[in-house]
Amino acid sequence: MTEVLAFVFLMAGLLMLSGRIVVKNITLLAIQSAALSGIAFYLGFAGSEISWHMMFMGGLTLAVKVIVLPMLLYRTAIRVVVYREVPLSIGMGPSLLIGVLLVALTYVYIVPVLLIEIHSQTMLFPVALSTVLLGCFFMVSRRSAFNQIIGIIEMENGLFLCALAVTGGMPLIIELGIFFDLLVGAIVMGIMTHKIRGTFDTLDTKELSRLKG
């Protein structure tokens, strides 16, 4: 079961690289988060006794990352009317290719060694790590401020899965802190996209380089 969800999780991340349409990316992000929350729920149930910590995390993910954040992003996207992405800094084809390479790199090159060190048998870990890299690369390849917040949430999803895979989740207080961070980050980004658009009439962050002294 976790394998299927992890597959969905990874594919959503990869597909995002191919998407030019912003709204589609938001949907993919929601799907990825839903898969994550599913994994958390599943791990919570799968043990000999129900882990309430996992359940809570799953619920929180569902609430924040599947429902609240995508809605917020969606509404902002509608308001600033961005259906299509501004020009990418790296073309779509190459970026997909690089994405696949990154996944391969984690699977083949990095994880086998790390796995031995951290004694983790699950396959969730490589998925998580490659999602972190994918998210980071997503941010690098997109010039729109809007897509960068999507990228950072994707990275965070990867980190979250990392924590789930390796230690069974972080302490609750830290999780809550991260969620709060993300929410604030999304709101700030939302406001910023609005402002950037108001100022430069585009969402292209290239314009920001003019602010340099």
Partner: protein, 659 residues
């Protein structure tokens, strides 16, 4: 009994916190928030004084755990003798400054006094905690809190651009210092445990080079906060920028937390090191003392002058500590303990007389609204009691018997001489006597400076309307200063009592055989002798017919006025000229004349000194940094994607590297 001390500490903490928070609740009424901010400070200071004395005089350290602030990091209190001494000093000065503030801060009714109370109480609280925690992490937390709170106090009058600039310099310099302190702790702990006890245990296994690295980091880090030359640049601008009561606390005791850090890390944790450590500390002390007092002599801003004297006195303290470290490295614990105790004695004395002087300067500012001594004069008639209090401070800081400055400098002289008399090598013998000569030079310059400061601002005629309209400061301010003046005299009369308890403190840091108590010092008998002689002479002077008749000052036949008085600039001119190799004065004289050069009607004279350290040390450093930054700027293109790319590439490299 420990329960009682725990309660005392707890009450003191609550009092400080309520002093910080309550004024915020009552900020509508300025007088209310001022009272609510200052009164708990006075009470908490008294409690802290009791607790500190307790810790200082009883051999068993007091250990209290106030709970965990981070997983694995406890807020542990350890009041051993050293901590007790510093806690007592800080609390005493803070309590009196709080009392003084009730009167002084009335000057700022239009400002946000609640905010001031908040920062002030937090500042004092963090200072008290810095010296009594037992863990480096908590130490750093309160160290930073102390810096931040004092930053906001320095920038209290933020509307003046100069104040903002001073605050900026302060925060930048002290944070650079903190970098070094953190490095010292990191090297010392090696990423392991952070408690002082753990570090002390670990330091024994470190190599000599590592230890020297820790020593250098600690000296630079704490030296920045203490304001040793050449890291003192922030000090003379930050201290005057703050309100005077805050300057008194900053100069009197905040600098001492850095001395505490030095003693704790260098002497206590690292243990005996090579002799050059002590030699370096001694040399830094000498340079700070002389440079500090020379620049002080050139200042006409009363508070800047006092701030430079802090540099000087920190130098004198370091001379004592340096001598102690040299003895420690020679495995001579008894003279080492005496030298460290001498340094600590000067810590206490400087705290007392420097706070007294800053509070006095505050009263002058309160009465005249100017800090420029060229505008003052004649205040001894307008503010007779403040004048006496300020004079006591001035005499004490000039190391004049029978006051406390002399008592501690005497002990430092003896320690430096002991360095010579130990006959370890010709070099150290000569060095000891030369250090004594440097101390004598410092003392003479300090005396010159305070003859200027007191003479120009309190004596003769008022030089401006501001000084002419002055009146005595409110009683609560004088009451805040009076105990300090009494202490100046008392510690000067019975120094052996203080020195003997300080020897206990020093013996804790420099373990050795039991110290013999110091012989009863001569100060009391000397003072008695002086008093008797002067009283007898006074009797003689007041014999019948001895009443002084008063007339105008003789001015070669013309009626003198204030413009003919010697100014501070002219007073310091000979010194400026004699020590020009350090001060580098530049003089500009221009005359305007209409007909012939002999009948000029306007003359412009300007003389300014160069800050050699700023010009020859900081300026090249700054220019180098800027040039380097310009070169590096090419990687800063301003494109977010590129920055993200940097992060991305770093991430990949790290992952591959981890493998």
């Amino acid at each position: 009994m420990a329960g009682l001390q725990e309660k005392l500490l707890f009450i003191a903490l609550i009092l400080y916190l309520s002093g910080a928070v309550l004024p915020l609740m009552f900020r509508r009424s300025t007088s209310m928030s001022l009272l609510l901010g200052c009164c708990p400070g006075v009470a908490a200071g008294a409690l802290g004084l009791a607790l500190g004395l307790w810790g200082m005089l009883y051999p068993d350290p007091l250990v209290i755990n106030l709970g965990y602030i981070l997983p694995g990091v406890e807020l542990g209190i350890l009041i051993d003798r050293l901590a007790g001494f510093f806690l007592a000093t800080i609390s005493m000065i803070a309590a009196l400054a709080s009392l003084y503030s009730i009167g002084y801060m009335k000057m700022y009714v239009k400002e946000n006094l609640a905010w001031w109370s908040f920062c002030y109480n937090l500042f004092v609280l963090s200072m008290s905690l810095v010296v009594i925690v037992n863990n480096t992490v908590v130490f750093l937390i309160f160290w930073e809190l102390m810096t931040l709170a004092s930053y906001f106090l320095v920038t209290f009058e933020y509307r003046h651009q100069q104040v903002r600039k001073a605050g900026f310099g302060y925060i930048v310099m002290t944070h650079l210092g903190t970098v070094f302190i953190i490095s010292a702790f990191f090297i010392l702990s090696g990423g392991g445990d952070w408690g002082f006890a753990d570090l002390a245990a670990r330091s024994e296994s470190l190599s000599a080079t590592t230890k020297s690295l820790v020593f250098a980091c600690a000296l630079i880090g704490f030296g920045t906060k203490a304001g040793v030359v050449p890291l003192h640049l922030w000090l003379p601008s930050a201290h005057p920028a703050a309100p005077s009561n805050v300057s008194a606390v900053m100069s009197g005791v905040m600098l001492k937390t850095a001395i505490y850090g030095m003693i704790r890390v260098i002497i206590d944790l690292l243990g005996p090191g090579p002799a050059w450590w002590g030699g370096l500390v001694l040399a830094v002390g000498i340079v700070s003392a002389i440079v500090g007092v020379l620049y002080a002599l050139m200042e006409h801003d009363l508070k800047r002058l006092l701030a430079f004297h802090s540099v000087e006195n920190i130098g004198i303290i370091l001379m004592g500590l340096g001598a102690g470290m040299i003895f420690y490295s020679w495995s001579m614990p008894v003279p080492a303990a005496i030298a460290v105790a001498a340094g600590l004695f000067h810590v206490l004395n400087h705290a007392i007389f420097k706070s007294l002087l800053f509070l006095g300067a505050g009263s002058v500012y309160y009465a005249t609204r100017t800090r420029d001594i060229e505008e003052l004069g004649g205040l001894i008639h307008k503010m007779p009691q403040t004048a006496v209090l300020f004079l006591v401070g001035a005499v004490s800081i000039s190391a004049i018997p029978p006051f406390n400055g002399f008592a501690s400098e005497y002990q430092i002289y003896q320690s430096l001489l002991a360095l010579s008399l130990a006959k370890v090598s010709g070099f150290w013998s000569a060095a000891g006597v030369l250090a004594c000569a440097a101390l004598a030079l410092t003392g003479a310059l300090a005396a010159a400076c305070f003859v200027k400061a007191f003479g120009v601002s309190f004596l003769a005629r008022p030089r401006s309307q501001k000084a002419a309209g002055a009146s005595e400061a409110p009683p609560v301010m004088r009451i805040g200063m009076a105990p300090l003046a009494v202490l100046c005299l008392a510690l000067g009369l019975i120094p052996q009592v203080v020195m003997n308890s300080l020897l206990g403190v020093a013996a804790q840091i420099v373990p050795g055989p039991d110290l013999p108590p110091l012989p009863g010092a001569f100060n009391l008998s000397l003072a008695l002798l002086l008093a008797v002689i002067i009283a007898a002479l006074a009797g003689l002077a007041n014999l019948p017919g001895g009443r002084a008749r008063r007339t105008e000052t003789w001015g070669c036949g013309i009626v003198t006025d204030a413009s003919m008085e010697y100014t501070a600039a002219s007073f310091s001119q000979p010194v400026r000229r004699v020590y020009r190799f350090i001060l580098q004065p530049k003089r500009e004289v221009s005359t305007d004349y209409s007909l012939l050069p002999y009948f000029n009607y306007r003359m412009h004279f300007e003389e300014r000194i160069k800050s050699v350290i700023r010009d020859f040390l900081y300026k090249p450093l700054r220019e180098f940094t800027i040039a380097l930054s310009k070169k590096w700027r090419c990687i800063q293109c301003g494109n977010i994607n590129l920055y993200l790319g940097y992060i991305f590439v770093t991430l990949i490299i790290l992952l591959v590297w981890v493998r």
